[in-house]
């Protein structure tokens, strides 16, 4: 490939990538800006950063006791000592994240509880059902597999309202179970499907020899299924956590009293509360809500990309 064509491809890809990232850049930028700055322009270096740079610059050239002009949130400016000014700027930077954190912490914990328990349930049920249904034939095994796969026909929009009625009748509204049980029930289907097709491709001799050694279901699962299917587990778990983390409507509906909000429904509740008046709080909340998945992303990108590109995803 010619050098110019290569350059053109890089320029195109980088442009598209930056456009994709633009809203995220706004998000991070606004975490540190006051409402006044927000109204002045949609994008600028935060005043607090500029102020800190000014204080640091003054300290660097030596006149560290010269008073500095500091503009507060209301736009009134006054003179103060550099140390005091730095404190004011730090408080300005910290304010949005601190307030957002105070509101979001319980939501974050709820999200973690729900998504971890769901992922655990889905991967245990999915892998064991996938293993049983791919390796054994017994009365009803076919029917069970069809029962699993047939649920893919039913879109969420069909079952949303009746599921709500069901959860309400079971007395599960405003509990973790209102989320975990339906999530596991739905999530295990995809997991079973993926594990089933993975185990089908494994040679029977593998299982046969272990059975000869007297291994039962548990032994086979523990010694063969688990170690061999680690990449499948990572894809299933990551996809599941992503789904749970992003699901906004169900937690929003089943938390009638707001006591069990998760991150996404909590963000929406936040956006309709009085906190929405403070833009830095809101944008800090968006940023904080992205951190857990960012951590997951950093650790799991490689296995995830490998799993996704393995060719299992086509119709």
């Amino acid at each position: 490939m010619g050098r110019w064509r290569l350059l053109a491809i890089h320029v195109t890809l980088l442009t598209v990538a930056s456009l994709t990232m633009l809203p995220l850049a706004f998000m991070v930028n606004n975490v540190f800006r006051s409402n006044r700055e927000f109204y002045r322009s949609f994008f600028s270096i935060p005043d607090a950063f500029k102020g800190l740079a000014r204080v640091a610059g003054a300290a660097a050239v030596g006149d560290s006791n010269e008073p500095v002009q500091v503009e507060d949130e209301q736009g009134q400016s006054r003179q103060m000592a550099p140390g005091e000014a730095a404190g004011v700027y730090f408080r300005q930077i910290k304010r949005g994240p601190a307030m957002a954190w105070a509101v979001l912490r319980p939501y974050l914990i709820n999200s973690l509880i729900v998504s971890i328990l769901t992922a655990l349930g889905v991967s245990v049920l999915g892998s064991s059902a996938g293993y049983i249904l791919s390796r054994y034939r017994f009365l009803g095994s076919r029917a069970a597999l069809v029962m699993f796969l047939a649920t893919m026909m039913f879109p969420g929009v069909l079952t949303l309202v009746p599921s709500f009625l069901l959860v309400k009748n079971l007395g599960l509204l405003n509990t973790y179970w209102a989320m975990i049980l339906p999530y596991v029930a739905g999530g295990q289907v995809f997991a079973t499907f993926v594990f089933h097709s993975f185990f089908k491709g494994l040679p029977e001799e593998l299982f046969e020899s272990a059975r000869m050694d007297g291994a039962g279901h548990l032994g086979l699962y523990w010694n063969i299924v688990l170690p061999l299917s680690r990449p499948v587990f990572s894809v299933v778990i990551i996809m599941n956590i992503l789904g749970t983390w992003n699901n906004f409507l169900w937690p929003f509906i089943t938390n009638t009293d707001g006591s069990h909000h998760v991150i996404s429904s909590g963000l929406f509740a936040l956006a309709t509360s009085q906190h929405a008046q403070n833009f830095s709080t809101m944008f800090a909340a968006y940023a904080i809500s992205s951190v857990p998945l960012l951590i997951l992303f950093v650790y799991a990108t490689r296995p995830f990309i490998r799993g996704m590109t393995s060719g299992a995803f086509k119709a």
Partner: protein
């Protein structure tokens, strides 16, 4: 596949039982309820009255939102299909054509990275940052002297639907890129070499070799996008709540409002059933008429 002994068969049943119970309770029971309760009229906790097909008749003939909202849904879905079948594919092709694996990995990670931001946050950022009165769009317009064009993009009846469509610009979903990329990587070297020998390169190779060979990926994305477009309404709920007027209302959103704002549970179930039937029919059509490379090979 082996036929296990009796004892081991009981073990098999015991292992798959919890999953089956969850499936029956939380999926099959709601599916049955969706149909049965769509024939009733009731509020949550209130007495139910059997009304036959009245809910369906009311929605299809009397409800003023019905056809406008179906039209909105079709426009949103068609737009989504157009962009998701093209933009991520082009990006995947560009990434795939880079000679160095390091760069290919770098770009795949770059385009996947935005998935860490929850969908709700993305919608709220677009609402509060891009489309807001003093947001990016209006600021840019007044910066180039077109301040007359500035408006509340999501509240103006003329622009609301288009504004909703454009959320997510430039529409490069990380998942789709990965899926297309996987398809492109799976094209055998022998095919690529033969194409090169025949002098088939660049755009003509893209259309004559690449696209026919990744039809199964295109089909998957098409299916997912159509299903998602027909039933999705979370974004609309966050961005516009269906307004202004009913300009951005879709049947799914109307179902939500009927259930959870107007307490018309039976009516909501009827809308859900109709949506399910439409999605089901489209899925069958899609599977029947849009054949993937494997199917074609299997028949010849």
């Amino acid at each position: 596949m082996i036929r296990p002994s009796l004892r081991s068969t009981l073990g098999c049943y015991a292992i798959i039982l919890p999953g089956i119970v969850l499936l029956l309770t939380f999926i099959y029971l709601p599916v049955v309820w969706a149909f049965s309760k769509s024939l009733q009229e009731f509020e949550v906790g209130g007495p139910a009255r059997f009304v036959g097909l009245a809910n369906y008749r009311e929605y299809l003939t009397l409800d003023p939102t019905c056809w406008p909202s179906v039209l909105n849904m079709l426009m949103l879905t068609m737009f989504a299909v157009c962009v998701r079948l093209t933009v991520p594919l082009i990006v995947a092709k560009l990434i795939h054509s880079l000679p160095r694996e390091r760069w290919r990995h770098f770009y795949r990670v770059m385009f996947l990275a935005p998935i860490v931001v929850p969908g709700v946050a993305v919608q709220l950022i677009w609402q509060g940052m891009i489309y807001a009165d003093n947001g990016m769009l209006n600021s840019l317009l007044s910066a180039v002297g077109l301040s007359g064009w500035a408006r509340g993009w999501l509240s103006d009846p003329h622009t609301a639907l288009a504004a909703v469509m454009m959320v997510g610009f430039p529409f490069v979903g990380g998942f789709e890129v990965l899926i297309y990329y996987a398809g492109l990587s799976a094209i055998p070297d022998s095919v690529n070499e033969a194409a090169l020998l025949e002098g088939c390169t660049g755009v003509s190779k893209f259309f004559r070799i690449d696209i026919p060979l990744i039809l199964s990926q295109l089909k998957l994305i098409l299916l997912l996008t159509v299903i998602g477009g027909m039933q999705g309404f979370e974004g609309l709920f966050i961005l516009t709540r269906g307004g202004p007027g009913f300009k951005t209302t879709v049947p799914g959103l109307w179902m939500y409002f009927n259930a959870f704002s107007f307490q018309r549970m039976g009516y909501a179930c009827a809308i859900g059933v109709l949506l399910f039937l439409a999605i089901f029919a489209l899925t069958l059509l899609n599977l029947k008429y849009f054949k993937s490379a494997e199917d074609v090979k299997g028949e010849s």
